[in-house]
Symmetry: D2
């Protein structure tokens, strides 16, 4: 084999922080984690399955669905693997379980699985809020296992990494909550913006509708259209207020409105904050880079915004680049004249805003390399 001297510039050797396929030495001594997915027929459970099938440290123990379908009847992308789904009651003990279930079923399943010694990652909303009255009002039901909600760690690894690593139960965040919290966290922690008037417009691909048929996602209706929904009081609002309030050390008001747009995967949170003092874009980009220093999956898109730069694209995050991945792109700009910051958070609602983040949490909870199975970059185009 020819020797091949690396040229000075582009070698990856100079890039210690770039996430890559996990070094093999970590794996060949470890047993594979045995992982179950409760509710594998929807989009969220299916995405967890897709990534886990290729994960170097995990193997599928079982998959459940109420219908007991074959996997390739509901997930055309997994055709030919011969995977079957079992009914939830047939599930056997395993190391880690993902829950992609309705709220009440999640709570039942979490109790049972934790009792069997499994670690549990709930991809739903059963354990996300820390204030019981708020949870019960927002989800319009009594919570039958509140101590679990108190125990659960809110699964944003960038904010709660050490606690996640020690947790039995992780409450994986809502997709828009992930995007907006990551986009606003540095501003809020530093107290740079008016905490009573944060405005978040959320643009969502239709994956967010879920696999159930729905008029708002019928292609003739949405294919060349924009559909606002839950325009006030969306449930993710309360997660944003909780987590940003923790960072701020006081109450925060988030004014959140989502709109479906005709892309399939990916969401964009456009977040507005009114500045308390004059700040510039450069200063804020530096703040963001510092805040997310060493985080493998949050990238601060700090491209020059000046006209005339050689940059061929708009200097803001690119939703399509994070679709299908665990990456979140952040970006921002400042209207110095009017005193406003706009911060963008782009991620995939079933990627970094869902199943992929759940797998990152599984890695942390299980002592695996945090990036295992998650390093593949998104597409271009």
């Amino acid at each position: 084999m020819a020797t091949c001297e690396p040229p000075p510039g582009p070698s990856l050797a100079a890039l210690p922080s770039a996430p890559r396929a996990t070094p093999v030495a970590l794996w060949h001594v470890a047993a594979m984690l045995r992982v179950g997915i409760l509710g594998a027929s929807g989009y969220m459970g299916g995405e967890a399955l897709r990534v886990l099938l290729d994960h170097p440290g995990a193997e599928i123990a079982w998959l459940t669905s109420r219908s007991g379908d074959a996997v390739d009847e509901v997930h055309p992308n997994l055709f030919g693997l011969g995977l079957r789904m079992i009914r939830p009651e047939e599930a056997t003990p395993c190391d880690v379980a993902f829950l992609a279930l309705p709220t009440a079923a999640s709570i039942d399943a979490a109790e049972r699985l934790l009792g069997q010694g499994a670690k549990v990652i709930d991809l739903g909303a059963a354990f996300r809020l820390k204030d019981r009255a708020t949870w019960e009002r927002v989800y319009q039901q009594a919570h039958p296992a509140w101590p679990l909600a108190e125990e659960a760690v809110y699964g944003i690894s960038e904010l709660h990494g050490p606690a996640i690593a020690k947790a039995r139960l992780v409450a994986n965040p809502g997709c828009f909550a992930s995007a907006a919290i990551l986009a606003l966290a540095p501003l809020v922690r530093e107290g740079l913006v008016d905490l009573g008037h944060l405005v978040v417009d959320g643009l969502s691909g239709t994956t967010g509708v879920g696999a159930e048929l729905h008029r708002a996602a019928h292609h003739p209706e949405i294919g060349d259209n924009l559909v606002p929904y839950n325009v006030v009081g969306h449930r993710h609002t309360f997660e944003m207020e909780q987590e940003l309030g923790l960072l701020a050390g006081r109450e925060v008001r988030v004014h959140f409105t989502p709109t479906y747009v005709p892309i399939v995967r990916g969401i964009l949170a456009v977040c507005h904050g009114f500045t308390a003092r004059r700040v510039g874009r450069g200063e804020l980009l530096e703040l963001y880079r510092d805040f997310y220093e060493g985080q493998p999956f949050v990238l601060v898109y700090d491209r020059p915004a000046e006209a005339g730069s050689s940059w061929k694209y708009e200097p803001y995050p690119w939703v399509s680049a994070v679709a299908g991945t665990n990456y979140c792109y952040l970006g921002l700009d400042v209207d110095e004249q009017r005193g406003r910051v706009v911060a963008f958070g782009a991620l995939d609602s079933i990627g970094k805003g869902g199943a992929h983040a759940g797998i990152e949490n599984m890695n942390l909870m299980s002592g695996l390399e945090r990036t295992a199975g998650l390093t593949r970059r998104g597409r271009h185009p």
Copy 2:
């Protein structure tokens, strides 16, 4: 021919305000207006042409483009009509001229055409702002004919109808300015929201990019993507602040950020205002209906927002319904807990936000029926 008794309900006879094809009696005595379009090879000029070809009271005098192309080389939808474009210097006098030109060329052309006695509708930005210093800063050039800017009427018919009817020169508004001003006008006039912190997120179809090729509109890049652009300081901001300031009687601050989304036609302005006092959705819908009473092209989408209504769609405006038309749909909702109104304005950037609104202005300026040529509803789906 069979007689045909109207059933009690659905007859149009009960709908005096519904715009329809203009009664013929108005037209058969009038001479046809002779209309020229300067800059007919772009999307805006082409859309004006498409509608004028079917207008009952106007006929095309000439079309210009710098390249002198045949119309069907640049507009595949107008194939086979045999229309040619002339060079701008070949244009002859006419009754009404539409300008779809770069700013400096618009000013030149407006002076010349007004001097020939034509009425002029500028579809560009040359005459939209009333403050010279602001205009010159925003458009980064000296204005060589400021008295015309002072004379020009800002072409939102719902706000300036009588002045438009008497005008020689109309400055047709920017698309996002139209959408946001119409969506916010009732709130601002009534002083119901904090005028220093209006936030507008604008979602734009790619028609807004224009006919020139541009990386942000290359289908592989935008086809499954969302692209924020001009996220602070967008030029339409200053029109919003000017017109809403006039309604409020004092200075207004609009915090505006647009994003391209992969639809072709139509824009949606998502407008947030913080309420000064507690208001409910019903009260505001009534305010909006009153404000736009009798306006044929602004429709207040006052569908019930309660869960369980028989309504099959989200109770907010439908962008696809106004694409290709002169209609603007408005809608709104209120977060009473947090004190925020969200108001939506949906229109087509080259429809009610451009060429169609220009034709409405032409109708008003020329004594024609205001709705002539513009009544056709949009598509579903």
Copy 3:
């Protein structure tokens, strides 16, 4: 008013054949046709309604739906008109009725309405085939009123215009049948291609799925996807074989396969014929222009195909240009080396392939100007 001399070139005065808004003199003496639509809540009936609302010679008598919804609960584009739908049994006599119903209901309704003296245009498939055995096999039911099927005229105005003008009952063609028949008719009549091996690939926007929710049209599934369906034995095949067989004077075999593509409106039939003798593109374009001479709604897209022409677009029909209209664009090319013609037919499945063509037929049947209400060109972009 300024005088306005027409420049030599672009005046419409030189374009006698260009369809325009119908001269008013035709209308102000005529009574308005009273028109009913049976099944107005679907996409097809809704599109007929949208165009008829703006038709200069027709007015809506009634609209029916089984659910009795208000029109703006099912058609967001017709919001605010106050139109109600009645139940089918409440329909009163009228001049012309459009049927947008399931097959069996169409047959019932046609019998009743014809008995009341109305003219009937069936937008469905009840009366399209002339061979009873074929119809009953294809539609898997006995036909309870075959004499009506024999009486019905197949509603392609370019082939059966005089018969349509005299008809009581018109069977409006299937959308792909319209596109493929118009694209292949000149070739087949002249015997230029192998009639046993015509291949038609049909690309369909999702409007063709209809308003009922369907997994294949769920945006997450189709939004970035292509979905073949009914790939052999599609019902429109039999219409193509019938009508092309009539033109050829002998049996024709059409091998037709449709695929859903993620556009909303518009279909494209890509039709392949193996040539019996050497022919060139220029010769065939001339044949097509002759064949459709004087037809207002079929345009032969005869752009130069040579590299280096000034033409900015591909020299083939443009689906988006005919969406929402009654126009059909045809185009073609020839592989002289291998002996194949490819002919394209582009139209809108509920435009020239559906409701608009039905209105054209109504105009013909009622002695109105053929183009009334239908002249508006499609959009660009």
Copy 4:
């Protein structure tokens, strides 16, 4: 860690043929291949880079582009990796080189790199055809290094795997050639269809246009449109005829027409063959399964086509499922009445139809596991 008994059905243990992440034992003894990409700024080279960054047995030696841009200026999905591109003349020796270059530059580069001892995979068209006269006519230039074209192995691993494994130079196939050849190969080898009249309609996502701006890919033009291009004489036709001719042992005629559709990634070849004798769908599916037995990346989509099956989707391949991957889905149906087979080939033009297939070839040429780096399934949705 809890023990976790596998339930009977869905365990992967029963799935020996399912491609998975390569067992680590293969890698930790091997040196990493050093790989260069000539022309990394386009979509094809960028996709090769994206996959290679995560490949367990390869590392990037260098990347070139004529402009010398930073990678994240042209590939937003690879933001933050700090990768730079060098000018082609700075490239140093390496183990394997991918060429994503214009034809003439490819030939130059191949000669130089082979001379340095590298293995070369040309992602372009320089070495695909075996008949020099055909190549020179199709590509309209003289070939300056024809012996290399004779030496090059046509890179469809399913047909030429052993030769690829021994090759120095692989000519990676055209995307539509890959799809159509894989879809038609079993039919052609068995002589089941008329070899003079194979018809292929190709539907292409806009990635196929490439990164250069082009009017046909301007989103306002194509976003809701269908654009046929190169409708006769497309260059991939000749690859199809060459490879299918080899399988048949005699001349084959392919009648190929492509159309751009508004999806970003993925292509679908709809292939029609007239049957020589009566065959049924079941029989052909069995033939296809046999033909592709043991092939990890070609999946025969043999879902039941009968009405009433529990299958929730159309029983044909799913383009979105293979986008971004090295998988090709095949499917088919038969019109027994008219004597036609329709076979579908779905793949990604820069996946199995491009860069991913190139990496599969690299694996084969270098003695790596064939599936290394390529096992990740596509998305759903």
